[in-house]
């Protein structure tokens, strides 16, 4: 017991000294923590961006709140703490601007397109939006969230009408592709970046340009943020060339 205690203390001190030494690498004087409310399709790339952002600003803490853009809008309007809002569309940011929660110009930081994700190996041979009618269960985002609106738009362009009884609605983009990755949905219409993030657990099917929809991702600081400096710095980092190349690496398109 005693020995284990000593080992424990030794380990803790090693960890502490490691973190202490890394904080010497600080290059800026920015301090404080911010909460970033971001569309669920940004989950992986924003975590990576925050990691890189913190490498340059080690005394900054970035906390995330991921969800559908429309749910995040309601949360901010209801007074949820947020310093930066990053949505999968421009309309959600504009909505917060009309209610006075955003008072700086929004910036479009990335674009995304839609893709079909199917079970690995594509057992149902789904090659187009039209083939989705062959699927027993198609996962789409809820009708009110951006990825659901984009998918509806694409289906309309392709003149495909899916029976509502074969459509399972995910609460956000990640939940939607999750129905194919973890569950038994045959296909999902989600962002290309989500399909890329899912890796080998799905097979991707390209949606031709004439039917596809381009999503513009917009972000802005939330008015009344106690840490506007850090919020703005994070946005600037996302817009920087380093930030942009990370976004591209995760399957997003340049704005």
């Amino acid at each position: 017991m005693w020995r284990r205690g000593v080992a424990c203390v030794a380990m803790v001190s090693v960890v502490l000294s490691a973190t202490a030494s890394s904080s010497h690498a600080s290059t800026t004087s920015l301090t404080g923590s911010i909460t970033v409310s971001a569309a669920s399709s940004l989950t992986d790339v924003f975590k990576e961006l925050a990691r890189d952002f913190r490498k340059a600003n080690s005394r900054v803490r970035v906390t995330f709140n991921f969800g559908s853009s429309s749910a995040l809008v309601s949360q901010v309007q209801a007074g949820a703490p947020a310093d930066v809002f990053a949505a999968a569309d421009t309309a959600s940011v504009d909505k917060l601007a009309t209610t006075g929660h955003v008072n700086r110009t929004r910036r479009i930081f990335a674009k995304n397109s839609l893709m079909i994700a199917v079970k690995p190996g594509n057992p149902l041979k789904i090659l187009s939006l039209k083939d989705l009618m062959k699927a027993r269960v198609v996962a789409l985002c809820a009708k009110t969230v951006p990825c659901g609106l984009y998918a509806a738009n694409a289906l309309q362009r392709a003149a495909v009408v899916l029976s509502e009884s074969s459509v399972s609605r995910g609460v956000d983009a990640r939940a939607t592709i999750g129905a194919v990755v973890n569950g038994d949905a045959d296909a999902a219409v989600v962002y290309s970046s989500d399909v890329k993030a899912a890796g080998a657990s799905v097979t991707s099917v390209v949606i031709p340009r004439i039917h596809n929809v381009t999503a513009s991702y917009a972000m802005a600081p939330i008015g009344g943020s106690k840490n506007m400096k850090v919020a703005q710095a994070f946005i600037d980092y996302v817009m920087s060339s380093a930030g942009q190349s990370t976004l591209v690496r995760f399957g997003f398109l340049r704005p």
Partner: protein, 267 residues
Amino acid sequence: MSTSTVTSRIPRGLGVVGAVGAVFLLLPLFGIARRVAWSSLWEQLSSPQVTEALRLSLLASIAATVCALILGFPLAWLLARANFRGRSLLRALVTLPMVMPPVVGGIALLGVYGRTNGLLGSFLYETFDLQVTFSLTAVVIAETFVALPFLVLAIEGGLRSIDSRHEESAAVMGAGPWQRLSLVTLRLLRPSLIAGVAVAWARALGEFGATITFAGNIEGRTQTTPLAVYMLLESDPEAAYALSLVLVLVCVGVLFALRGQWLGRRS
């Protein structure tokens, strides 16, 4: 009751905190009532998405309660009457779905009935082309899974409290095992049976986590009332509150009908 004079003298601080506790539990109900748009309540509740969800919920929860009863009664019997090794362990495990997060229950069900990697699901899919997930069957399975323990505990408790002399005397008078069950045991068991069924049904009706994970969220097929509430919160909050009110009222109705039977009768 001679002890009441002593026990009814409550320390003042305890009473205040207790009252705070009661307010804490009851205030959210007013939160719902306050947000309901009473004038358009009927309109909210008669939209197709809402009526479909209510219909599905009613259907699935009743089916789940029946399944739970069929499976739960013999299981409760075993736990109450049979002597075998590991009985207390089995009882603890049976109550697991009561305490484990429903979403974990959903994942666990996927592991069994999932089409691609499920223990039974892949067999069913490959041999019979049968897909359990994302169907009404999946909703019933998920609801049965979470409701069953409530039923088992209620029936087991009831069986334990039955004086076995009633059954013994029935045996002496020449009643066979099935006759004893239907004429004596089931009659004596009725209060706990009703309590168990009601609580299990209410739990099935409210199921969310396991359903959305295992059965998906298909309007008119697997989108039960709690799922509809969750989806409506974004598109039509007024309807979400209206539907929540319905669920609360149903639960209040169940509790009223039981009048404390679930918690044990008070004199």
